[in-house]
Structure formats: structure tokens, C-alpha cells
Point group: C2
Amino acid sequence: MQPASSVLFPDLCSRRAKVLRAALRLFTQRGFFNTSLQMIVSESGASVGFIYHHFRDKEGIARALYHHLLERMNALLDDIEAAHRTAEERCRAVIKLLFELTEAEGDSMGFIAHARHREFLPNEKAICSASAFVRMRGFVFEGIEKGEIRPMDPMVAAVIAYGGAIRMIGLRLDGVIEQPLSGYLEELWAHTWQALHP
Amino acid sequence: MQPASSVLFPDLCSRRAKVLRAALRLFTQRGFFNTSLQMIVSESGASVGFIYHHFRDKEGIARALYHHLLERMNALLDDIEAAHRTAEERCRAVIKLLFELTEAEGDSMGFIAHARHREFLPNEKAICSASAFVRMRGFVFEGIEKGEIRPMDPMVAAVIAYGGAIRMIGLRLDGVIEQPLSGYLEELWAHTWQALHP
DNA sequence: GTCTATAGATCGATAGAC
DNA sequence: GTCTATCGATCTATAGAC
């Protein structure tokens, strides 16, 4: 159940937002192909006509969700970039954010980080090519250039920096990890940084 | 294109194996729900009747693939456990194996590590609860107990050990990483071990 | 713009011959 | 055991009233 107010879904009232939130929950929990339009109608309270008028087709709902969530992620990365100077602080802040979003808005995190978008959005780039993920890697690349991270292949540094956290998010969303992720942040990052610091 | 001989698919000749290999390729590249039975018939050369007689239904093909691949992975983990004593060597060997399989049998790795099985196999456990993944984590847990890995939460150690590699596999399968993974193994593991060693 | 009723197409699964 | 022809269910998308 999504909380009443939400970082990734500021708009909770419009009918369009109701459709998006219902679809998000169904897509994440049952999968895109196991979700019929009728289910979205029942869950959202909107009608078939409304949905086709505003989203063109079923794929259009997923496309709107995809772009909406990536745009929100980009805005949150802007905040992090402005609030922190060093690669170490920025990466840590990114992981803290992702952990918090996993706990507070698991459906959204599941849709962003966990779903196989190519299967139902054939014309979208792979999510890891999306700008939000490119920018996350950019924090690491910049850290190497500035000497804040020890010299190594940039992609290797990026997967070390975020790989453990992303794996942890997956395990949490799948129910393998039963405790809130916030309790792991300090320990995870302290050790991860041992692999990166100069 | 799968190679002519295969670690994960020793049997290449039987009609059953032809169906499994065709389905694997289609499921990984197009997704389970975008693959019709008719496509599997066309790709494998078997008939509808043959498939339903041997697999009961479409889900049965995916189920057979899932169990077959996890069983093969378990056998390969047996080999690693027998060939290496320390956690450091075992984890490194696991990552080396996964990197090699990603390059040589990308469809299989995509199906094991990348697909959302819950969507089309509702009665199977999440893949990260499967025995192969539990055993991979077990190598890490044992390393902590023996003092080969510095004291920390076991799950944190496990995601640090494998998270970077698994992330790299995902990026490689999605085409973000363009070079073979073997070229990254040494550097990735050398730095990752800095986060784990006592 | 919004709704309901329905068309149109696909696909999984089976029946029945061999 | 294997095959082909076909049924029946489901779901997306649209037509047409309001």
C-alpha cells in the first residue's frame, strides 16, 4: 500500500494520477501481462473510455509511468548533486535515497529497478541507459577524475559503488531480506567505500 | 546464438532439448508473454501435440527450463566448492563462472538472473531464494565464521561480494557494457575484496 | 470528454484420427 | 506417442450514444 503522500507521486487526486497509481501497483505486483485493462478500471475507478482517451493504449499507461518516475528520479538526483560535493557523499546519498524509496514506495522502486521494461515497452531504451542511471554512474566517474576514488575502470567502480545496494533492494523487494534497508546503510557503505577510496 | 556444445545444456539432440532451447531463446529475447506456442513450434520443429504431451502446458516449458538450469548451476557450484577451500577463492570462482556463462550462454544467464519468474511461474519461489543462490551466499557466510572475511552482517557481505558482478552481468546482457566480461574480472574482484578482507 | 457495449484478433489448450 | 484442425476463452481497442 502506497502512503498517503509520496515523493514520487506528488499528485494524488486527479483521475489521471489514480489510474497511474492503480496501474503501477498492478504492474509491479502481478506484472504487465497479467494485468488486464479491466483490472485497472476496477482499481482506479476510471472508465475504459477515459483511459483510452488519455493514454492511447495499455502500453501508453506503462510509458507514462516510466517517464514520470524517471523524471522524478532525475529531480531527486538534482537535489543530491546540489547538496553534496564529493563522490563519496553523493554516492552515499543516492543509496540512502534508494533505500528510503524502497521502503516507502516499493511499487515504484519495483517498477523502476526490477521490471523488464523491454518486454512491454519495446521502443524504450533499457532502463540502465536512462538518464537517471547515467547520472548515478557520472558521480562515480567524476570521483575517479578528481582522485576521490582510486584509479580503476570507471564501469568497474560504478558497479562496485551501487551493485551491492541495488542487489539489496532486489532482495528486499523479493522478501528475502526481512528488515528495513535503512538499518544496513551505514555498514554497507562503510565497507563498500573500502573498495573505492584512494 | 547458443554455441554447439554447452555447459548448461549438455543434451543438444533430443526433441525435448530442442524445444527447451528454442523456448529459452524466445523467452529470454522476447519475454514469456510475447512468445506464443506457435513460435516455439516453428523454432523447435516439434509439433503442438508433442509439446503438450511432454510439458502439459506453456508454463510447464518455463518450469522445466527453470529447474533444469538451477540444477546445472548447483552442479557447477559443487565443482567450485570441491576445487577451492577459502571464501575468497570460492567467491572469485563463482564470479568467473558467471562471467563465462554470460558470454557463452547469454540466453541461459538472462533467464536465470534477469527474468521475472514470478510473473509466469506463480508457484515457484523467487529465484534468489533458490538453492543455487543460497549456496553462493553460504560461501560468504562461512568465510565470515572462519575469519576470512572481516566481521559484518552476513547479508551485507554477500551483496558486496556478488552485487557488483551481478550488476555487471545485467549491464552486459542489456548491451550497456560492450566488452566481454572476462576483461573486468581481475580488477573487479581485486577491489571488491578490499571491502571484505579482514 | 466520458461512457457502455461489442467487435475483432490472438492464443492456449484439446479432441480425435493415426 | 504424435499430429492437425479447431474450439472456447480472454483481452485490447473501438464505435457510437450522450
